[in-house]
Amino acid sequence: MKTLADFALDADQQMIRESAEAFLAENCSSEAVRRAMESELGYDPALWRRIGAELGWCATAIPERHGGLGLSWIELTLLMERMGQRLLCSPYLATVCLAASALLEAGGEAGQARYLPAIADGGLTATLALADRGVEWKPEALSCRATARDGGFVLDGAFRHVPDGAHAQLLLVPAWLDGELALFALDGDTAGVRRREHANIDRTRRVAEIRVEGAAVPADALLARGPAVAVGLARAAALAAIALAAEQLGGAQQCLDLTLTYTAERVQFGRTVNSFQAVKHRCAEMMVRIEAARSAVYGAARVASAGADTGALLLEAACVKAFASEAFYFCAQEAIQLHGGVGFTWEYDPQLYFKRAQAGSQWLGSIDGMRERAAAALLDHGADHGARNMEEQHA
């Protein structure tokens, strides 16, 4: 019965979800989000400490031997969904979904032992730089170079879009070393590292430019090198995309819920707005996309938690990211539209979701890019196993 039971939540998972929901309802109101957005740091450090130290959210999918809870991406995505619902401003995506995944998938045992316990207990923030521009892992879009010197290394490169890059304490940086890929761990305040936070539209998530200019690091900053780094970072990016999709799902659901509440109260032409069939159908369309995205997230989380091979994992990430990005943008757009005049005011919340929906739609793979990834697997020579299987079975 595992096939089926897998899609139902067990009692522990339900409890995780419900307690996260309750915690955030209390601690992450619209007012709290707006305060965090306007703060210099971009998030509330006290709330972040509670999440890490008290609630153990950062520890969720980190193995027990590294101080984690040893749970899976199923539990992590349940948490991300709730964080997305409430627009929580925090370094969770950067620290836990990206950096911890990179350590687990590409960081080597020593790096894991060094950093994961501190991440797990919320004591260390971290991030992962992925490319010169954009936030996708493409080795060919990486120009950062490492050179051995004085028993250590010197790094030179630039990364235009690093999530939470200005404040993260630990920076994971890929670089070319003697023609092969390597992953380095840098303290954020290493000499030669210049970090500049961007002004951006989605203030619920900060992005920084990081320039690494002749930054000297000790030998043990090199966590791993060789072909496994490319694969590991691809896997880490896919896992982060699945987590981000869960966050987007939560945002989409909240857009629908806000709209249902507003249209039930608002009266026009002598009727509550929610009694118009056009409004009803729009809300139904929102739900269709949300539930489709939810199924995609649930499925992808199960694949991720089962340790799928890389090809399958990347296709899973493509599918879930495309669906969740599309659902979130659609729902945010419709929330604004169906709120009418107040929908595009600063005071009401739909605009906050809308801005995050657009920003997130570009992260870790655009919708178009994800469709092409699936198409390549289906259509191109040497296509990946999963998709090609389909045709072999039916040829």
Binding site: L4, F7, S275, C283, F323, M370, E372, A376, L379, A387
Partner: protein
């Protein structure tokens, strides 16, 4: 489904999967080989006699009605095993089941609501693949408005039989069936859900006429069925007279679930045919076609997950949110797939040649037009989602309509 979750399936299930696959590999051969991938939606009139024979072969080895309790001739398989069965059946190209209305709708309804006599009389024919059923729900004047049934049933005081007058429409396979289940109005003057009766009616009688309806495809997948003093015995009422709505709704409740698994495997086959056609036409290099193929594949994957979620009983055991969307989702996905198939073939899409992999796609294009209409139009589906799943107000039924100035 390819790329299915790497789930730790216990070995008895694996063995069962192999057993099904083996049976299919052994039997869907020889004279049955031409049935591979045939008889799905829009292709329902393919090889009817041979498919009945196939059904009887399945029955011989116990592969019909695998989810029914053993006491009624089924295998009593768990839901997990049923999924495996349907997956392997469809993966092997198993043809659409001529008896699916009996197996998936009427049988479960009789098991739940039928009398012992009805179960004894009707279940064995369904299991054996010897007696076939069609569905008498829709009427010409009612369309999606099932509560507006006009077909009348009155009791003959002499014989106790029920006499039926009226007309049903969109009955698929009526010309291949022996029986029809009919929702009719048995209390004159009643309206809406009240006063209905659920009757089992033999088709081979003078009072019943079956007329095929020619479809957009040029073929006749559906029929009209005319009742003019048709008769059925008193023992053929399911539930009580006047309580037909309850039975009719319960029957529709059986519509969802496992049959989607097989349907999706057919869809997967169609998508594979599109990939093949795109390679042949060169449109596999066209970015817009590629994007749509990628999107279609992802949509199918989501549909599969959505089904597994539904079959898992949802998050909390109540009627789940994902179950509300599935008809709307799959029917629109499939309609889009038909369009994609044609666009992937380019100008050749319009040309009919003798290649089933091509004509199948053309059939999908045309026939999928009905997907978003039958069994609740898109508009009805969205109403249901808004009203039942989201709790929004019901559509008003105004007493009088205001007419706009032209």
């Amino acid at each position: 489904m390819h790329n299915e979750p790497h789930i730790d399936v216990s070995s008895p299930d694996q063995a069962f999967r192999a057993e099904v696959a083996q049976w299919m590999a052994t039997h869907l051969t020889g004279k049955f080989a031409c049935l591979r991938h045939r008889g799905g939606a829009g292709d329902e009139d393919a090889y009817p006699e041979l498919r009945k024979e196939w059904a009887q072969l399945l029955a011989r080895d116990g592969w019909n009605c695998v989810g029914w309790p053993e006491q009624y001739g089924g295998r009593g398989l768990s839901v997990a095993r049923q999924i495996i069965f349907h997956e392997e059946y469809a993966r092997a190209g198993g043809p659409g089941h001529m008896g699916h209305l009996g197996e998936t709708l009427l049988g479960p309804t009789l098991i739940a609501y039928g009398s012992e006599e009805q179960k004894r009389r009707f279940l064995p024919g369904i299991v054996a693949g010897t007696e076939y059923w069609c569905q008498g729900y829709s009427e010409p004047g009612a369309g999606s408005d099932l509560a507006n049934v006009q077909t009348r049933a009155r009791r003959d005081p002499a014989s106790g039989e029920w006499i039926i007058d009226g007309q049903k429409v969109w009955t698929s396979l009526a010309h291949e069936s022996q029986w029809i289940f009919v929702v009719a109005r048995c209390e004159p003057g009643s309206r809406g859900h009240a006063g209905l009766i659920f009757l089992l009616v033999p088709l081979a009688q003078p009072g019943v006429e079956v007329r095929p309806i020619r479809q957009i495809t040029g073929s006749c997948e559906f029929n009209e069925v005319f009742f003019d003093g048709a008769r059925t015995g008193a023992q053929n009422v399911v539930g009580a007279p006047g309580q037909g709505w309850k039975v009719a709704m319960a029957l529709l409740g059986f519509e969802r679930g496992l049959s989607w698994i097989g349907m999706q495997t057919h869809f997967e086959h169609q998508l594979a045919l599109i990939c093949k056609a795109a390679r042949e036409s060169g449109s596999d290099r066209d970015p817009a076609i590629r994007a749509r193929i990628g999107q279609a594949w992802m949509g199918l994957k989501v549909m599969h997950y959505n089904t597994l979620r539904t079959l898992s009983g949802g998050d909390d055991g109540s009627l789940s949110r994902e179950a509300y969307i599935i008809k709307y989702y799959w029917s629109n996905w499939h309609r889009d797939l038909g369009k994609l198939a044609m666009d992937a073939m380019g100008a050749d899409g319009d040309i009919l040649i003798d290649d089933f992999s091509r004509t199948r796609l053309q059939q999908v294009f045309l026939f999928s037009r009905s997907d978003t209409i039958v069994a609740g139009t898109n508009e009805i589906q969205l109403n249901i989602i808004a009203e039942r799943a989201l709790g929004m107000p019901r559509e008003a039924r105004p007493q009088t309509q205001e007419k706009a100035a032209p």
